[in-house]
Each structure stands twice: as C-alpha cells, then as structure tokens.
C-alpha cells in the first residue's frame, strides 16, 4: 500500500496536471481569504499563493522546472491578459483623453524616479553590479522586465522575482500610503500604482475602483515603453563600477 502511494506520487508529481491544479486551487483559496477580509491589502492573494506553493515545492523536493511544466498554462495567459487591458482603457477613453497632460508628465516623473531610485539605492548598499542590472527594470510587468534585463546581460530570473516583489509590495502599500497623502483623485492613485507596481498593482486598482483600474492599465503600458528606453541609459550613467 505504501509503495503504491509512493509510486502514485512519483507519477503525479511529474505530471503537469497536478501542478496546474495545485496552482489554481491555492490561488482560489488565497483569493477567497482576500475577499473574506474585504480585500485587505495584507491578504494579497499573489503573495500568499507564492509562499505556500514555494514551501510545498521545497518540502517535496520538486524542481521548479517540473512545477513550471504545469503552471506554464497560467503563465502563458499573461500576454493575452495584457492585450485585454485595452477594453478597460477603451471604456474609459474620455476620462483618459481629458487627463493626457497630467498622465504624460506623471509618466516622466514616475518612470525616472523608479529607475533612478533603485539604481542609486542598490549602489549605496554595495550590491554586485549584476544584481543592480537585474533590479533596474523591476517596475514593469514581468515579461517586459525580463526582456530588458536579458538585453543588459542581467539575470532575468532575478529580475522576475524583483518585479513580482515590487508588484506585491506596491499593491499592499498603495491604499494606506495614498490615504496618508489625502489625495482622493482615483485617476492619480491608479496611475501611480500602475507606474510603480505594473500588473499586480493594476489588479489591486481594479479591485478598489474602476477608474483607478483603467488609469493603472494605461500607466503600466506607458511605463513598459518608457522604462525600455530609460534603463539602458540610466545604468550606463549611474553605475560607477
């Protein structure tokens, strides 16, 4: 019996089905908890799904590649979901057009402060050059950030982690931080979280307010463009090693 159970595990743990099911199941639970706490920032479903799945992989000694063979079906949808953000953008086009000037100036301020702050801080804490290059594009969506990192000979897998950590931290901190500034303009709040925390921030904004979600989607697409141009320039100017 014990042998049977073991061989069943050996079979299942190599099949994409188990890891795809596990990913959806864990997320369904962390999302239900988030909903039950009225979308409390600390109950962020991505954060909790990440550590639960990660700990399970470590405990069962499952290589990430085996896990990803199943989870890639979810990962693949990042591309189509980015395209689909055209719809909230289209539906709020009149709001967006009316705010074109503040958006463009805030884009410049936000993308520059994201890249310059991370490079200068990482320099100050004496992180290795390779790590700094990998952290620099962290404010844009995972796929884009990994592309920028690869073109600079950074480490794309570290960049993916940095981008997701940034997204999760931005999504957690945005509501309390914005409340502390007293700014109630949901266009400005949404735009800021889209610049700072890409798709994870946008997912948070969509939970809070429809207008915030649309402005966040615009911000993350514009920032993907701005950061792609800005990072190569910033690292040559700012890194002195």
């Amino acid at each position: 019996m014990k042998d049977n159970a073991f061989s069943l595990w050996v079979y299942l743990s190599r099949s994409p089905l188990l890891w795809l099911t596990f990913t959806l199941l864990v997320y369904a639970i962390t999302d239900a908890v988030s909903l039950a706490t009225h979308r409390h920032p600390l109950a962020n479903p991505v954060l909790h799904a990440m550590w639960i799945i990660g700990a399970f992989l470590l405990a069962t000694d499952t290589p990430y590649a085996t896990y990803f063979a199943g989870a890639q079906f979810v990962h693949f949808l990042l591309g189509p979901a980015t395209v689909a953000l055209a719809v909230p953008l289209y539906e709020n086009r009149t709001h967006a057009l009316a705010a074109i000037l503040p958006m463009l100036i805030a884009l410049a301020a936000g993308s520059v402060s994201a890249v310059v702050s991370i490079v200068l801080l990482a320099e100050a804490t004496k992180l290795p050059r390779g790590v700094i290059l990998s952290l620099a594009p962290k404010s844009v969506s995972v796929g884009v950030a990994m592309g920028i990192s690869a073109s600079l000979h950074g480490d794309p897998s570290l960049t993916a982690i940095a981008a997701i950590l940034t997204g999760v931290m931005g999504a957690i901190i945005v509501t309390p931080l914005m409340n502390s500034t007293g700014i109630t303009d949901y266009r400005a709040r949404g735009f800021a979280v889209g610049i700072a925390a890409h798709g994870i921030g946008t997912a948070r904004a969509l939970q809070v307010d429809e207008i915030a979600g649309a402005f966040s989607a615009i911000a993350m697409s514009l920032n993907a463009l701005a950061t792609s141009f800005l990072v190569p320039f910033a690292v040559t100017v700012l890194i002195r090693r």
Binding site: A49, V83, Y90, R187, I195
Partner: protein, 127 residues
Amino acid sequence: MLASFSLILLCQLTGDVLARILGLPLPGPVIGLLFLLIILLARDHFGVIARGPLRDGGIEGASKKLVAHLSLLFVPAGVGVVQRLDLIAAHGLAIFSVLAISVVVTLFATVLTFWLVSQPSRLWDWS
C-alpha cells in the same frame, strides 16, 4: 467567446511579429494592446467592422474575464523565487529594502505629479 479569444491572441501575435521584424524595444503584448484599442476605436467610426467578436459586447466580455484574475497569472513566475534561494540568503535583506524604498518613492513621485499637474492652481496652495 472563442472568436473573441482568437482576436485577442491575433492582436498579440501581430504585436510579437511586428516587434521582431522592426526590432522594437516594446513587448508583443503591449503592441497587441494598442492594436485592440485601435480596432475598438475604429469600430466607433466604421460600423461595418462591428461583426463577430466586435458585436454585442463579445470582446468586452472575454477581456473582462481574463483581466478579472490578472493576479493569478503572476503566481507561476513568482514561485520562481525557490530557484534563487542562494541569492536571497546572500543579499535578500538589501534587495528587499531597496525594492521597498523605491516603490514608495515611485508611488509618491507619480501621484503628486499627477495631482499637481491636473490642477495647476494646487502648485500655489501646496507650497
């Protein structure tokens, strides 16, 4: 639903192809987003293209279903952290701190700029 999803994939595919051929620094999905936006805007002006997925809220419904679970899609890449535990052990605290400070700086800089520029009279009140 099927036609709508195909249209989304087609936009992404076109974006990928264009990015590759023209060597654009933009990722395919972001160009795909622009394509879908242009198609939706064109529909407002040219009624003839309001067919299939572009009729009766087809593309809108499919897109909203995809976007509703946007957070889930980041989980597989996020779990990738298990691959880099060595690096986390060596530099984890520094990396975590600089990312946290940078995200706060970026949020403040962006929200204040947007807020001030959207109503320039605030520049005088604020100082």
